[in-house]
């Protein structure tokens, strides 16, 4: 208190002191009495000037006590100067109550000048404040502002009035006054100060919404405002509050006002210097009365800034923790790119504490995952595990990696990590979730039995944990039966689960839907319909309602109630685009089945004309059906132009499907209707038309169309890789067509072509393009298969395994399926995963479409496994099956003979070995002389080893002829 007043009053009192000395010099008090008063006054004034305020106050008191009755002392001209001095001496010596009385007395003096009256009024208000008479002080400041509105100090008085309201606990009134002050025409720096006070008061009172409204609603003059630190800390508190309340957007807005610590210190120091410089210029223009008031304000503000700086310099740097929270806020606000910027920087900043770097690194993984940057997420995650192997977040990090692998469809790696987690941290709080996820992964790997085992473990823990994963686990346990097509078991479990759930459980609608779907899969359409109707009636507006509609349509189709089915399909809303398109084409099937060709045409035309769809896939397919319908109506003259129009519009579009089907339809019509030659530019032979169109396509740089026509003409299925049928169409495509112009089908064929020719780099170029550009096309099977073969050739077993597994699980019915299963089996064998390999080969043996060579090779694979396990007796039967049943494949047969002979020999059964070689010796299915020679040599070798009574042929002549051959 003393310091803030001291400087203020020096200038003010200069005038009073001067006047008093003049008075002292002219006083008429003579003799001992006048000199004593003068002497005392002089002593008091000197003490005052020397900042010895207690002494000055005592002397003033003594003065009054001694000369208080003297007319000279009591004269107004004396009192008007003495009283303010006296009052201040008391105020500064810690006796504000006395000061108040003296100031009040001073204000009674009529002769007091208005300038002196100004600062006495202000001083009175301050003394009242110092005396704890806050209400009186508030009134006094308010009166000052009313009585001296033009004074520069009036603004300060209003500000102080508002601050006192706050300090006395009257938040509402204080804030109201400060807001009024802010809205008034006061100097900007004071208005800013008022706003800051209000924000701080509201924040202290935890009135977050109100404080935030002021924070965001103020145009902060950040280039000039002095108290940056106050603003920064208020914004930080408000931001943290919003973040804790999960309001990241508001948190980020508040955080925007918080600079990093070092920058805040630097800029705050600049502002402090600016304030001092500005005030030094400004005070030269102030009147003594105003100067004293402003000096007080200046001391307050510089004091606060210095205090802020001291606090900043002496405290720990808040920046890393703050930036971590900002990174988190950006993530929550759905701005992962921004989050990554911060987190990546913090994770790599070696000047930070390890705990901050570690936390940032972990969140960086989360941010990468949220952006679906899977490769980045894996790399960042692995780096985290290397760097912070002791961190308590290791389990969570491993789980994030498992999630990432799952997103990348590397399910085996995902499962491996989850199993590792469960082994290493069986009691971890998240162990159940890991187990649940492992169950899901098993489902995705089509290992339904494994999946059930995992879900069953969770379900069995109900009594132990009461966790909220138990019911979902039971649900998915049932789903695993469904996916395995064990529908009865699935139904049983769905019903059991439904019976135990409380009313309005969140799983209830899902179970209803699934039961309907199961019934449908069992072709129990009546029950399926009952269930789906129950679902649609009981849960209108459920997220699955569109699917429910579609399912109901399919059920009705199953019952032959096509018209009703079409009605259900029409109720699927277009915003569910995948279901909507499915419904469109299902309805098309209905019209086709009902032979309602006009309806069919109208239906697909309506689809093509819709303008409310974000995506409109299968357009060429729709056009095809329109043309087909016209064709069925015998309106060939309309169908063919439709087909040609579709080809014209979409033939060169790599994304268009059904182009081949349209060409099939066109070819069919041309073959049956020679008069259509006119429509085809006078060409009557379809192949000729194809050649002409192909030449035109090349001339017009319609590369996609050119490739399609080339493939159509070539109709190649490269087998041996040395040539393609026809005229080297594939090589031409490779030479002329840029890769990005090929459709999925062409990319697959080109990739296969180059693989079979041994040109790995070229093959990879097409196959990778296929996967990247057409990730959902069935033709991606070529990419998966041949990339898998390439990996197998290079001995990259894990990659090969992953790729083959993908085609088997994603496209089980694709023609490349059996070959992929074989390759998968071989790769699993190479990896030593014999059980899995055996399962794969056995699955192939059960596959109808794999009859012939693939099954022979599967048997060979099984035999190889037995050999690898050193189980020759198990290997032999497989080889025997090959050479007994698959003699159409001499290479496999010969190999089977060779290997089984070796196996017999390994078991000590030399006679059987001899007999086996003998069979090979006389094998008719091959004309390879080296095989026969080899057999002869082995027979000769074994004859020596066989017992005397063994059954052997007559000694074999050099030309190998034998009556048994």
């Amino acid at each position: 208190m003393r310091a803030q007043f001291r400087h203020r009053w020096r200038s003010s009192f200069f005038g009073l002191l001067l006047a008093l000395f003049t008075l002292l010099g002219s006083t008429s008090l003579a003799g001992q009495v006048g000199q004593t008063m003068r002497g005392l006054m002089q002593q008091a004034v000197e003490a005052f000037q020397a900042d010895r305020y207690e002494e000055a106050a005592r002397l003033f008191h003594q003065l009054e006590a001694t000369f208080g009755r003297e007319p000279e002392f009591r004269a107004p001209r004396t009192q008007r100067m003495l009283l303010p001095l006296n009052g201040y001496a008391h105020l500064l010596s810690g006796d504000p109550q006395r000061a108040v009385a003296l100031f009040r007395e001073a204000l009674q003096i009529v002769e007091m000048s208005s300038a002196d009256r100004v600062f006495v009024r202000y001083a009175l208000a301050q003394a009242l404040e110092a005396a704890g008479e806050y209400d009186a002080a508030i009134d006094a400041f308010g009166r000052f502002a009313e009585q001296h509105p033009a004074e520069p100090g009036a603004a300060l008085a209003l500000l102080r009035q508002a601050e006192l309201r706050l300090e006395t606990g009257d938040l509402e009134s204080g804030v109201s006054l400060l807001n009024a002050f802010y809205a008034g025409g006061h100097p900007p720096s004071l208005r800013t100060q008022a706003r800051l006070r209000a924000i701080r008061a509201l924040t202290d009172a935890k009135e977050w919404e109100s404080s935030a409204a002021l924070l965001f609603g103020t145009d902060w003059s950040l280039r000039t405002m002095p108290e940056l630190g106050v603003l920064a800390f208020a914004a930080l508190r408000i931001g943290d509050r919003f973040l804790a309340s999960e309001r990241p957007i508001a948190a980020l807005r508040a955080y925007r006002l918080v600079p990093p610590r070092n920058e805040l210190i630097e800029r705050q120091e600049e502002r402090l210097h600016a304030v001092r410089t500005h005030y030094a210029r400004y005070r030269a223009h102030l009147t003594p009365s105003s100067a004293s008031i402003w000096e007080n304000y200046f001391l307050r503000i510089t004091g606060r800034i210095e205090s802020t700086l001291e606090g900043l310099r002496g405290s720990e740097d808040y920046t890393p923790g703050f930036q971590l929270r900002r990174g988190h806020a950006f993530l929550l606000a759905g701005r992962p790119r921004e989050a990554i910027q911060i987190l990546r920087y913090l994770a790599g900043d070696t000047t930070l504490a390890e705990r901050d770097r570690r936390e940032a690194h972990y969140r960086w993984i989360v941010a990468a995952i949220s952006m679906e940057r899977w490769d980045d997420a894996l790399a960042i995650g692995r780096a985290y595990l290397r760097e912070y192997s002791d961190s308590e977040r290791v389990p969570q990090t491993l789980f994030l990696l498992a999630r990432t692998y799952r997103e990348q469809r590397d399910l085996e790696s995902a499962a491996a990590i989850l199993r590792e987690l469960l082994e290493e941290y069986p009691d971890h709080g998240q162990a159940e979730r890991w187990l649940f996820t492992l169950g899901f992964v098993a489902l995705e790997q089509e290992a339904q039995a494994d999946a059930r085992r995992h879900f069953a473990r969770i379900a069995a823990d109900r009594n132990a944990n009461g966790s909220n994963l138990v019911d979902p686990a039971r649900f998915w346990h049932a789903m695993a039966w469904f996916l395995e097509q064990s529908y009865d078991r699935a139904l049983q479990e769905f019903h059991a689960l439904r019976g135990t759930l409380p009313a309005q459980h969140r799983l209830e609608p899902e179970i209803h839907y699934r039961v309907a779907a199961t019934r449908y899969a069992m072709r129990d359409y009546d029950e399926a319909l009952r269930e789906i109707d129950g679902f649609l009636q009981r849960f209108p507006g459920h997220a699955r309602e569109p699917e429910g509609r579609v399912l109901r349509g399919d059920i009705l189709m199953g019952q032959g109630r096509h018209i009703e089915a079409a009605s259900d399909f029409r109720r699927v809303p277009p915003e569910h685009s995948a279901l909507f398109v499915y419904a469109i084409f299902q309805s098309g099937k209905i019209y086709r089945a009902l032979e309602e060709y006009d309806l069919m045409v109208h239906h697909f035309q309506s689809y093509l004309e819709r303008d409310d769809l974000l995506k409109r896939p299968r357009v060429s397919e729709a056009l095809y059906w329109i043309g087909w319908a016209r064709q069925q109506q015998g309106r060939v003259s309309e169908a063919v132009p439709l087909f040609l129009s579709a080809l014209d519009r979409y033939g060169n579009d790599p994304a268009a499907t059904e182009i081949d089907a349209i060409l099939d339809a066109l070819e069919y019509q041309v073959q049956r209707n020679p008069e259509l030659g006119a429509t085809l530019g006078g060409i009557t032979e379809f192949e000729s038309w194809l050649e002409t169109a192909r030449a035109d396509a090349l001339r017009n740089s319609q590369f996609t169309w050119f490739a399609r026509l080339s493939l159509r003409l070539g109709k190649t299925q490269p087998r041996d890789g040395t040539h393609d049928e026809g005229k080297g169409y594939l090589r031409e495509i490779a030479d002329l067509v840029p890769v990005d112009r090929l459709d999925a089908f062409a990319l697959g064929r080109m990739g296969a072509f180059f693989y079979l020719r041994g040109e790995a780099a070229e093959a990879e170029r097409y196959l990778h393009r296929l996967l990247e550009s057409f990730p959902d096309s069935p033709d991606r099977a070529h990419a998966l298969h041949y990339l898998g073969r390439l990996a197998e050739d290079r001995g990259e077993w894990q990659s090969a395994r992953h790729l083959f597994h993908r085609i088997i699980s994603e496209l089980p019915m694709h023609p490349l399926g059996p070959e992929s299963m074989l390759a998968h089996g071989r790769v699993l064998t190479a990896l030593g995963a014999y059980d899995a390999a055996r399962e794969q080969f056995e699955a192939l043996l059960r596959l109808r479409q794999a009859r012939g060579r693939p099954q022979a090779e599967a048997l060979q694979g099984l035999a190889r496994i037995a050999e690898a396990r050193e189980e020759p007796k198990r290997a032999i039967p497989y080889y025997q099956r090959i050479y007994n049943m698959y003699r159409a494949f001499p290479d496999l047969t010969a190999d089977a003979y060779r290997r089984s002979a070796a196996m017999f020999e390994a078991t000590g059964d030399l006679q059987a070995a001899y007999n086996t070689w003998r069979e090979l010796r006389f094998m008719n299915e091959t004309d390879d002389p080296s095989l026969h020679e080899e057999a002869k040599r082995e027979m000769r070798r074994l004859e020596v080893l066989l017992p005397r009574d063994a059954t052997v042929d007559s000694p074999i002549s050099s030309d190998g002829d034998n009556e048994h051959g």
Binding site: A250, R253, L257, P259, R337, E338
Partner: protein, 291 residues
């Protein structure tokens, strides 16, 4: 044409444009302090980075002063540097640059002997030339001055050099310089220069991911305290986000730019058409989030 002025070769054009008072001043003698305390005042006959040959006593005596023994050199014309600074402050840039240019050429051979603040005085010349679009000359001056400054004082000239490279389209040099600029300090800077230059170059080369990544950095690390060229970063980020088909992000960034009272830099980047569709959507108004 080159004029010999006070021992230095000054382009005639600079001499011709300079005030006569300056030209006369620069012809005055120089003073050289040696490390052993001796002081010489005279007319320079030759100035290299190895020695100064000074003619004293009306040219009758010549001293060869080796670079190793020279403590400092006082050249005429120092007050004209102050004059140029004042003219800059008054907005009379063209006049100031004429003076600075003359002084620069005069002092060019003496650079190894000048104090830091005397060398730094010519940063204004570099900035002035950049503003006039004379990027080649700006780069040349900056490259001459930089070797004569300590590491901690090079920032303004390195920034100017970077800007010069960018304006000249020297992408590789700009990128290298920008990366050095970025590495030279942490993320909290008062300028976004290096970031926006790399981002702008990437944008031109249609490398939108790199453009967005770099443009976002100063946006993310800045607070409400002023950062030079931040509006350029926002503009590039909006363009890159739109090119990456992320109109949502572009809209967010554009709204944030407005909230931060930053003006779109139309001179450098056109306002994308897509921005007009953003309308008056208020980024702050998240129904769950807005206070």
């Amino acid at each position: 044409m080159i004029a010999l002025l006070g021992g230095a070769h000054v382009p005639a054009a600079a001499v011709g444009a300079a005030p006569n008072a300056l030209v006369d001043t620069l012809a005055e003698p120089i003073t050289v302090w040696l490390t052993d305390g001796r002081v010489f005042t005279g007319t320079p006959r030759s100035v290299t980075d190895r020695s100064i040959i000074l003619a004293v006593e009306a040219g009758r005596v010549e001293y060869t002063l080796g670079a190793g023994e020279i403590l400092r050199v006082e050249l005429p014309g120092a007050r004209h540097i102050d004059l140029a600074r004042d003219l800059m402050g008054e907005g009379r840039r063209a006049e100031a640059l004429v003076i600075l240019e003359t002084l620069y050429y005069h002092r060019l051979p003496y650079l190894p002997y000048l104090r830091e603040k005397e060398v730094l005085a010519f940063a204004a010349l570099v900035d002035g030339r950049l503003q006039q679009g004379r990027s080649v000359e700006a780069v040349a001056v900056a490259k001459h001055l930089l070797p004569h400054l300590p590491e901690q004082s090079r920032d303004p000239l390195e920034a100017a050099l970077l800007l010069g490279y960018f304006r000249l389209g020297w992408d590789e040099a700009a990128r290298t310089q920008a990366e050095a600029w970025i590495r030279s300090a942490g993320p909290y800077r008062r300028s976004a220069l290096g970031w926006w230059i790399i981002a702008a170059t990437a944008l031109q080369n249609q490398d939108y991911e790199t453009a967005l990544d770099h443009a976002l950095h100063p946006i993310v690390f800045s607070s409400q305290l002023p950062v030079d060229d931040l509006e350029l970063c926002y503009a590039i980020a909006v363009h890159a986000a739109l090119a990456l088909n992320d109109s949502n992000h572009a809209r967010l960034l554009f709204g944030e730019m407005r909230d931060r009272r930053l003006k779109w830099p139309s001179a450098e980047f056109p306002l994308p058409d897509a921005v007009h569709a953003f309308g008056d959507q208020d980024n702050r108004k998240d129904t769950k989030d807005h206070p």
